[in-house]
């Protein structure tokens, strides 16, 4: 009990004084997960929209694959990315293993199916609502897609936030492909795992608070977005 209280106090101290290491790790976490979020969204949102709007031959198959990929254990994703990026792997020459890029790749693979699936669901509902109107107004396919993405932007942002939450809290895959190297690939989750095993509870707790703070901000933002959806303004 004493340990925990002391750790608590020390953690608050680290946060209050903007401890350099804590700051550095938190920033890297944000960098990696935000990069993964941008890349994953750029793939998942058009994909989810296309799956809602366009009938094509392997549409159902693609949806099943996405849903299956959503359930992939992150550790397995980490292992696969490791094999692909390791020196003897097909992408070994790029030298990405144990860099933040490897972590971004792993997170992109983990959150793209999640964002695509949520986006697809939201876009499907909106398309059912808009279909006849947009056809009757003779909107071209690209215009239909643009309209859906714009008018469904809140739901899409919610989808993206869900992806971000998953990315920033993920530890298994990035531990494997990033290696948790000090000042290079150490992020909030991997640092917490390390400091806990080392017994430095102050830093671990401080990192934990930052992580909880970020997660809280994401869920508050999601809540706020879904509230304004039914509010007075779009």
């Amino acid at each position: 009990m004493h340990d925990i209280l002391a750790g608590f106090r020390a953690a608050l101290g680290l946060i209050a004084t903007f401890d350099a290491e804590l700051w550095d790790i938190s920033l890297r976490s944000l960098q990696v997960s935000l990069s993964a979020l941008v890349i994953a969204s750029a793939i998942a949102i058009p994909l989810g929209t296309l799956l809602a709007v366009q009938r094509f031959r392997f549409r159902r198959l693609v949806i099943s694959v996405i849903n299956a990929l959503m359930g992939l254990p992150p550790v397995v994703v980490g292992l696969m990315v490791y094999l692909l990026l390791s020196r003897s792997g097909p992408f070994g020459v790029l030298g990405l293993l144990f860099t933040p890029w490897a972590m971004i790749v792993a997170q992109v693979i983990i959150i793209t199916p999640l964002i695509a699936s949520i986006a697809h669901q939201a876009m499907r509902e909106l398309w059912a609502e808009y279909h006849d109107l947009l056809i009757s107004l003779n909107a071209r396919k690209s215009q239909r897609i643009a309209t859906l993405i714009w008018d469904g932007r809140r739901s899409l942002l919610t989808a993206a936030l869900a992806g971000f939450g998953r990315a920033i809290g993920e530890v298994g895959a990035i531990m494997i492909v990033g290696g948790n190297i000090d000042q290079v690939t150490r992020v909030l989750t991997t640092a917490i795992a390390l400091e806990t095993s080392r017994g430095d509870f102050a830093l671990a707790l401080g990192l934990g608070f930052v992580l909880i703070g970020l997660a809280l901000m994401v869920s508050l933002a999601t809540h706020w977005l879904s509230r304004t959806e039914s509010g007075e303004r779009w």
């Binding site: 006849d132 009757s136 008018d151 007075e232 303004r233 779009w234």
Partner: protein, 235 residues
């Protein structure tokens, strides 16, 4: 005023849904005049016929022939208005923006229409917050803002009170005056008599009687239409 899109000729048109025939075979020519009122009991195929004419519905057989086809010169007003999740004024700008009209020009045109339909005060509120009558007025204005050659309306006043209905009818008369060909399904016999230049009467997916108003109301040729006008149940 000559409307280059008409006449519209439907020949042997059929529509099936889930393997069940719901319309046709229908042969019909819509000439320059109008407004045309489509009448018939529930489920007789009024909505389906309108959708076929506009091009929203895939036909099983037959042909839909325009004098001069121009998909972007046709508009549709649905029974339940579909509001884009945007402000009232943005809903009006939308069809113009689709055609590449600049933002400022579209806004100006939309503001004019909003004043005309009495929704200027609601310009920047979400269209989904409007009342039923306001939505349908907005939907009609959105259909008319691009000055279409033809507008198809599916019972646009079925959920409206007398006041809103009168406003819609005023807008329709003005549109007809300025050369837009109006084709409308309605349930409201009073409305049909007020607006119709000619009538198409459907029962069970087939055209039973057509003719010019007001003669067709005064002297229906078929027992079915006579019964319908009397308010008897027709199936």
């Amino acid at each position: 005023m000559v409307n280059a899109m008409f006449p519209l000729a439907l020949q042997g048109v059929t529509v099936a849904r889930r393997g069940r025939p719901v319309l046709g075979p229908v042969d019909l020519v819509l000439g320059q005049g109008g407004p045309t009122m489509i009448l018939g009991p529930n489920g007789s195929g009024k909505t389906t016929l309108l959708r076929v004419m506009h091009g929203l519905e895939r036909i099983g057989a037959g042909s839909v022939g325009w004098q001069r086809d121009a998909p972007d010169r046709r508009a549709f007003v649905f029974q339940t208005p579909v509001m884009l999740r945007r402000s009232t004024i943005e809903n009006l700008c939308y069809p113009l923006r689709l055609r590449g009209v600049g933002r400022a020009d579209a806004r100006q045109a939309a503001a004019g229409w909003l004043a005309r339909i009495g929704l200027s005060d609601h310009a920047h509120r979400p269209a989904t917050r409007l009342s039923g009558g306001e939505r349908q007025k907005l939907a009609l204005a959105r259909a008319l803002i691009g000055q279409p050659d033809a507008v198809f309306l599916d019972e646009p006043c079925s959920n409206l009170d007398g006041h809103a209905t009168r406003e819609i009818e005023t807008l329709l008369r003005a549109a007809a005056q300025s050369g837009t060909r109006i084709v409308m399904a309605t349930h409201d016999m009073g409305q049909a008599r007020r607006l119709a230049a000619d009538v198409v009467f459907l029962v069970a997916g087939r055209i039973v009687e057509t003719g010019a108003a007001p003669a067709i109301f005064a002297a229906p040729k078929t027992p079915a239409f006579r019964a319908f006008l009397n308010g008897d149940i027709v199936t």
